[in-house]
Each structure stands twice: as structure tokens, then as C-alpha cells.
């Protein structure tokens, strides 16, 4: 078991989760819960693949993916912000819708396997030679990974240290206060739901054009969108923690795969090697861990009470009478 490889793999798959999670963080910080991340990622993956194949350019595929997912997110935005419907159910509906669209428009894409261009991979000269860390973080990674490294601190800075970030946070905490000061609550929410969609599309494109290239129907995203939603809670709405959670999770998934290989682990006979059916239990681990992450995150949220955006999940109605 090559730990460097496992951790590096964790970084790669974790990048996908990281984009989706931070996208959802943006949406939730504005007060809108969008459970449709899985569906939006799927649309991203599908449209990236299709567009890249059609134009023979992976970057165009990426762009199309972001816009497509962003567009779909606006359905949810309209239903929850303007029509003020329940955000949970709307998110679920969005998932069905987006999945349906992906399957319909994704017909016949699987056969394009070898024709679709992928996003480039790089090793950073100099940094990739650092013992251990170089191999994990800077060696032979998709460009999306490196973009991710820059993206995380930028996202954090934007949310916490800039004026638009202040406005974003206030809309999610106390929209009435923001409204009375002239901040356009509805517009802000539409905007950040859109941003969430863009990033979910980006995440999906990262899968189909880079990390796990290909289109496999509904299995392409394999529940990662849902894991991203769970990670948001674990991340306490903080991009750095989101990255940490994503990378850890990614490493876990790889570890689980590799665990069946060696004959012994730490000197003890490896049960997963001898009975391949035990492998199914290994496959459960990432999902079990998500639940554990959730428990940890929920307990922290309960204790600190300043984690969850206070207005999350509640529609905003100006001048609601009868307080």
C-alpha cells in the first residue's frame, strides 16, 4: 500500500468534492439550501463531456458545464426565492429533474470514450520534488487540483474579509436587516445559488474530463453531490474545513480500494485479501464516515451556535406582518 499514492489520490478526488462543497457553502451562506448538488454535478459532467467532444476542447467543455449547471440551479432559485416553496423538497425535485435531463441528453455518450479530450495534468517543477509532500500535492495532478489550491483561500477571503462577503453573510443571517439597509436580498440569493450551480458544474466537469474521465450515466457522480452537502455541515461553512474534509474523504475512498491488495497489514493477515466479498464492507466505509462526519459537525454546530447561517432554509418575505 503506497500511502503517498493514496493521499495523492485523495487530493485528486477531494478536489471534486471541494468545489461542490464550497459551491453549496456559498448558496447556504445566503440562506438557501440547495440539495440538488448531485443532479447539478451530473449535468456538469454530462455537458462537459458532450461539449468537449463536440468542440474537441476540454476547456470549452468546462465552461459549458458550469453554465449548464448554473442555469438549472436557477429553477430551484425561482421556486424557493420567488415562489417561496419549501427548500428541501425543491432541492430533491431539482435532483430528479437534473438527473433526468442528464440521462436524456447524455444518451450515447458512453461510446465516445476515447475521443473526448481531457483537461491537462501537470507536475509543478521544484515543488514536486519535496519528499513526501511533493508527491502528494504537486506531482502529476490535474490542473483543477492546482486551481483548487488557489480557490480555497480566495473563497475564504471573499466570504470573510470583503464587503460583498459581508453582504452575503448578512443575507443568510438576518435578511430583514440587510433589506432595510438596501441590500437586495432576492438578487443576492439568486446570485449565490447561481454560483453554487457554477461550482457544482465545475465539479462535475472535473470528474468527467479529468479525475475519472468518461460518462457512465447516473453512476458518474456516484453520490458525491450528496457527500458534498454533508461535508458542508462538517465544514461549518468554512472553505478551509471543506477542503480538509474533501481531501480526507478522497483519501478514504482510495484507501478502501487498496485495502484488498496486500496479503498482510501491519503484520497481521489481511482479511480483505482472503475473502474478496469482504470488499463490500470496505465500500461502505466512505458512507459510514460521512455519517460520522455529520455527527461530529452537528455536535459542533449545536455547541457553538454561531455556525449555521441563521436564516438558512427560511424564505424571506419583506414586511412580514405580525411578529
Amino acid at each position: 500500500m503506497d500511502f503517498i499514492l493514496i493521499l495523492a489520490s485523495g487530493i485528486a478526488t477531494g478536489t471534486v468534492l471541494l468545489y461542490a462543497t464550497v459551491g453549496e457553502i456559498f448558496a447556504e451562506r445566503s440562506g438557501i439550501l440547495n440539495l440538488g448538488v448531485e443532479g447539478m454535478m451530473l449535468i456538469g459532467a454530462m455537458s462537459a463531456y458532450k461539449a468537449a467532444a463536440a468542440t474537441n476542447n476540454a476547456w470549452i467543455g468546462l465552461l459549458v458545464a458550469m453554465l449548464a449547471a448554473g442555469l438549472v440551479s436557477q429553477v430551484h432559485a425561482f421556486i424557493t426565492i420567488t415562489l417561496q416553496a419549501d427548500q428541501v423538497i425543491s432541492g430533491l425535485a431539482l435532483n430528479f429533474l437534473a438527473t433526468g435531463i442528464s440521462l436524456v441528453l447524455g444518451e450515447g455518450l458512453t461510446s465516445l470514450r476515447d475521443v473526448v479530450p481531457q483537461l491537462p495534468k501537470y507536475s509543478i517543477p521544484g515543488l514536486s520534488q519535496i519528499p513526501w509532500l511533493g508527491g502528494i500535492f504537486f506531482d502529476n495532478h490535474s490542473i483543477m487540483v492546482y486551481i483548487g489550491y488557489l480557490f480555497i483561500p480566495l473563497a475564504w477571503y471573499f466570504i470573510n474579509r470583503t464587503r460583498p462577503g459581508l453582504h452575503l453573510r448578512s443575507v443568510g443571517e438576518y435578511p430583514a436587516a440587510a433589506d432595510t439597509l438596501g441590500i437586495r436580498v432576492y438578487f443576492t440569493r439568486y446570485l449565490y445559488v447561481f454560483v453554487g450551480g457554477l461550482l457544482a458544474g465545475l465539479a462535475g466537469a472535473t470528474i468527467s474530463l479529468s479525475i475519472s474521465p468518461g460518462w457512465f450515466g447516473g453512476l458518474t457522480t456516484a453520490g458525491q453531490g450528496w457527500i458534498a452537502v454533508g461535508l458542508v455541515i462538517f465544514a461549518q461553512w468554512n472553505p478551509f474545513r471543506a477542503a480538509f474534509g474533501g481531501f480526507t474523504f478522497g483519501a478514504l475512498r482510495r484507501l478502501v480500494l487498496d485495502l484488498q491488495g496486500p496479503v498482510t497489514i501491519f503484520g497481521l493477515s489481511n482479511p480483505f485479501h482472503y475473502n474478496i466479498h469482504y470488499g463490500f464492507f470496505l465500500k461502505m466505509i466512505p458512507y459510514l464516515f460521512t455519517i460520522v462526519f455529520l455527527v461530529i459537525g452537528s455536535r459542533e454546530a449545536n455547541r457553538k451556535r454561531i455556525g449555521t447561517p441563521a436564516a438558512l432554509g427560511l424564505p424571506y418575505i419583506r414586511g412580514q406582518r405580525g411578529l
Binding site: A178, T180, L181, R321
Partner: protein
């Protein structure tokens, strides 16, 4: 009279404003004007349309008809931002501050400066300077959830001043303040008018209006009954008449009732609030049969936690609660209900009722699992409907049918539903928290009459309220709570003593000082 201000420069002129909501005309051709440098009170009972009118001025609502002129220029504000740009700033009754953010962040919210990066240290300095200029005491770096209510209000005022507002609308500003804080506020307002600011003071409290305002406009059910009269030229009785349209009885009729056994006995009660802070610090009080015992205090001193602790909704960490000599501390809520403990919660929409369920479903909340409404595992719909219809008639609840969702009811009728439910269970102990908040005078009278009649039937009532006048007129005795402890008990309605206790001086100390 005209000598005091040589020119009556009008900064605001509202003419014939009409604002409607589905089913109700909140403002009916209302005229209102504001002179520079004055405090102009907008007086009226709850629901008269005062806040609505000012919400129109401040850009939160759009009127259906009428015109507005601000600083001589026609105004048609589409949003609060436009109103602020014209110099109009509103300080709401419920503060529009984001608790998890700092004072400075709250003040900067919605502004175009700083452009992108926050540069907090620089702006914190700016904010502190401006605060000093207007004599407002604040800590610019503190997070809003950490500061006191009075300070939060100052932040709200500062927010508007920072934006260059010279017209301030204060919506029921004294509702959350203790008497000394009210004095501070009035001083602040006076110093602002001296600096040329103009202030609209929305209130339903006659005493305050007479104290602080130069002129007053009275609204009644959406119409103006008297516009811009000098407060010096008018009496309280006149104002009350203008507010309500009939003779207002200042004191409710209270019969003499023989007081019986102790029903509620609370001993050294301690409990935490939701934030983990000790909010009840050893409360001692008792309530006997046939009396209304009032609990006075500025909001946030443990009243809600006390009501919850007494009914089993909040765990008690130390001390005991006894009802009819039985220890009921920390017992399950249902058991309390069986023992005749009844709670009228402060929040009637979010706690007291289920908004989308029918009136019937709401009134059987306490007895759905008792006969005759319950039979075995079932809830007998016919019995429930019978019960609900009976309550609808005897309490005169205005509702289209008993199947109507209660979220469609007015505040007064909603409270009637809750009262009907609680009273008809013939409680031995009734805990009423803010029972008349937000109701119009007719509904308030109704609620108070019901409480008094319960008292006559021998119930023991603990009345927790922030309206001193209500406590004084209804209670036989009044306790005062401050920071989770009882400061003392009075039965002579001495407002000064009560006021001092509300700000933290225990009774013994007051009496000692009184002797000296």
C-alpha cells in the same frame, strides 16, 4: 408658541397616503408632516397604522395613493436604500442587527464603501469617532450578541447617523428599555434635535409621548383623528380619546377576592438559557388562589426561562417548584397539564399554535388524549368539533369556520384561541406571558377581563409582562425580576420602587436608602 421656532421648515410632508393589505386598509388618506428640529410623535394603539405609515416613508412599503415630499423634493421611494439617500433613517422596534457580526460590520452593511477589502481597523476608528460626536456610548469592535439592548439601540441610531440621516424614525423605542435607559434615550433624542435632526417618535404610550414630543399626530384604525397638535395644548385624556374614540378606562374593574391557599411555590430556582448562561439565579416567589401576581422586569432578565422552567419545558438545575404542595420540579409537560398548570406563551404564532392546522386541531392540543375527545387510540372528530364550536361561541372567536387554518386569524383572535384552550381546561395555575402584546385595545380589554374572571373563580395567575401599566392595573402583588433573581415584592403599586428594582436595586437597599 410660534416664537420658539421662527420658521416651521417642513422636512417631510405626507399627503393623503393610502396603504392597503389584503382584507384591511392600514392607512386611509393620512396626512403627516414633520418640522425641522422637532420631535413629532405618532400616537395610536396597536394596529392603528403608525408603523405602516412610517414604513411607507422609509421605503419599505409602497402606498397605493398619496404623495410624499422630503426636503422640498417629491419622493417616491422604491426601497429603503432610496429613503436613506434622501436622509430618512428608521430605527425599528425589532433591531435590524446581525447578531454574529460586530458593531462596525453592522454599521457598514449595505454601504458602497469600503469598496472591496474590509479594512476593519480603519472603519472601526471612524465609527467610534462619529459615535463620540453624537454622544453615543458604544464599543465598535464588540459583536452584537454580546452587547446590551440599550447599546444595540444606540448602534441602530448610529447606523442611520453614519449614513447622514437627518430625519430619524423611532418605532416604539422604549419597549425594550428599563426606566433609566429610557431617560438616557430621551436625552440623546433631545441633543439630536438641538443639532438639527428631526425625529418621528412612534408610540402607544401616552406618558412618553407627552414627555418627549413637541407635537403629536394621532391615528385610529388607519385614519388621522388629530394632526400635528402641540403636546403642550392637550391633555392625556384628550389624547386617549383621540386614540380610541371612546372613554378609555384607565383602571380595569377589579373585585375584591378572598385569597386562598398557596398554589405555586418556587424556591431558589436556577436554570440555564439556550446559550448556556445562567439565566435563573435563584428565584423565590409564590402565588395563591384567587390572586394575580405580576412579574415585572425588562425583557431578557429570565422571564421566558422562568415560564419554561415552571411548566417543564426547561430543565431546572437547582431549586424546587411546588404546585399545591406537590413537588413538580422537572416533571414532564403532560403531567403538568394534568395537574392543572396552564401556560399562555409569549410567542403565539411560533409556539402557542400550529399555523396550518385548523382551529379545532389547535384547541384540542391540551386534551386530545383525554376523554371525551380521546377514546382509546382515537381522536373523536365529532367530539373535537363540538368542543371547538363551543369555545368559538363562548369566547366569541371570529373565524369563518372551525376548520380554518389559524395562520389566517388576526392577532386578537389567535390569542382568543389560545386563551379559550387554556381557560377551558380549568387550570389551577395559569402562567401568562405577555398576553396582550401587539393587540388592539378592544382585544386587550377582552384578555384582561378573562384573566380577572379566572381570578374570581379562584385560579392562581402569574402574569409576566413588560407593560407596567397592565401589571399595575391587574396585579394584586408585583415581583420584580432582574438578572434571574427577584429584587423584591410590592403591593402598593409604587412605580419608583418598581423602576429601581427593574434596573437592579434590591428592595432592601431601596428601603434602606428611603429611610435615609
Amino acid at each position: 408658541m410660534d416664537n420658539e421656532k421662527s420658521t416651521h421648515e417642513l422636512v417631510v410632508q405626507m399627503q393623503s397616503i393610502t396603504k392597503q393589505f389584503p382584507g384591511v386598509v392600514a392607512n386611509d388618506q393620512v396626512d403627516f408632516d414633520l418640522r425641522k428640529g422637532e420631535v413629532h410623535a405618532l400616537l395610536g394603539e396597536n394596529g392603528a397604522g403608525k408603523s405602516t405609515l412610517m414604513n411607507v416613508l422609509a421605503g419599505l412599503y409602497k402606498a397605493e395613493a398619496g404623495s410624499i415630499i422630503v426636503h422640498g423634493k417629491p419622493a417616491n421611494f422604491g426601497s429603503p436604500r432610496e429613503a436613506i439617500e434622501a436622509g430618512i433613517g428608521m430605527v425599528h422596534q425589532h433591531f435590524m442587527l446581525v447578531p454574529s457580526q460586530s458593531v462596525t460590520e453592522n454599521i457598514l452593511l449595505g454601504l458602497k464603501e469600503p469598496r472591496f477589502r474590509m479594512k476593519l481597523p480603519e472603519y472601526t476608528r471612524k465609527v467610534t469617532e462619529i459615535a463620540k460626536k453624537f454622544g453615543l456610548q458604544i464599543d465598535a469592535e464588540a459583536k452584537v450578541w454580546q452587547i446590551s439592548v440599550g447599546e444595540q439601540q444606540r448602534v441602530e441610531i448610529l447606523k442611520m447617523l453614519y449614513r447622514g440621516a437627518d430625519i430619524l424614525i423611532m418605532d416604539e423605542p422604549t419597549a425594550v428599555l428599563a426606566p433609566t435607559e429610557i431617560d438616557e434615550l430621551f436625552n440623546t433624542l433631545r441633543s439630536m434635535t438641538e443639532q438639527g435632526k428631526s425625529i418621528v417618535f412612534i408610540s402607544h404610550k401616552l406618558n412618553e409621548v407627552v414627555d418627549i414630543a413637541d407635537r403629536v399626530t394621532v391615528l385610529q384604525k388607519g385614519k388621522v383623528t388629530s394632526a400635528g397638535i402641540n403636546t403642550k395644548d392637550v391633555t392625556k385624556a384628550d389624547l386617549a380619546h383621540l386614540m380610541v374614540g371612546r372613554e378609555v378606562i384607565f383602571r380595569v374593574e377589579k373585585k375584591d377576592v378572598e385569597v386562598g391557599e398557596v398554589v405555586l411555590n418556587v424556591n431558589d430556582l436556577k436554570a440555564f438559557n439556550d446559550k448556556g448562561i445562567q439565566s435563573l439565579n435563584g428565584v423565590d416567589l409564590n402565588v395563591k388562589e384567587g390572586e394575580i401576581v405580576g412579574l415585572a422586569g425588562v425583557s431578557g432578565n429570565g422571564q421566558n426561562e422562568l415560564a419554561e422552567a415552571l411548566t417543564g419545558l426547561r430543565p431546572v438545575t437547582e431549586g424546587t417548584v411546588e404546585v399545591n404542595h406537590k413537588d413538580v420540579t422537572n416533571q414532564p409537560v403532560k403531567l403538568g397539564i394534568r395537574h392543572g398548570i396552564s401556560l399562555i406563551p409569549a410567542d403565539r404564532t411560533h409556539v402557542g399554535t400550529a399555523p396550518n392546522l385548523s382551529m379545532t386541531d389547535n384547541v384540542i392540543m391540551k386534551n386530545y388524549d383525554q376523554s371525551p375527545i380521546a377514546k382509546g387510540w382515537r381522536v373523536l372528530t365529532s367530539e373535537a368539533n363540538k368542543y371547538a364550536s363551543g369555545l368559538k361561541d363562548s369566547f366569541d372567536i371570529m373565524v369563518p369556520t372551525i376548520d380554518t387554518s389559524v395562520r389566517l386569524l388576526s392577532g386578537g383572535n389567535l390569542q382568543k384561541v389560545i386563551l379559550a384552550r387554556e381557560i377551558s381546561s380549568e387550570p389551577k395555575l395559569m402562567i401568562a406571558v405577555q398576553p396582550t402584546r401587539g393587540l388592539d385595545v378592544g382585544a386587550i380589554e377582552g384578555v384582561q377581563k378573562l384573566l380577572l374572571s379566572q381570578r374570581e373563580s379562584g385560579a392562581a395567575i402569574l402574569l409576566i409582562s413588560e407593560e407596567l401599566e397592565e401589571l399595575l392595573s391587574l396585579s394584586d402583588r408585583i415581583y420584580v425580576i432582574y438578572e434571574g433573581k427577584i429584587m423584591g415584592e410590592v403591593n402598593d403599586g409604587d412605580i419608583d420602587k418598581i423602576g429601581q428594582m427593574m434596573t437592579g436595586t434590591p428592595l432592601e437597599q431601596i428601603e434602606k436608602e428611603g429611610v435615609n
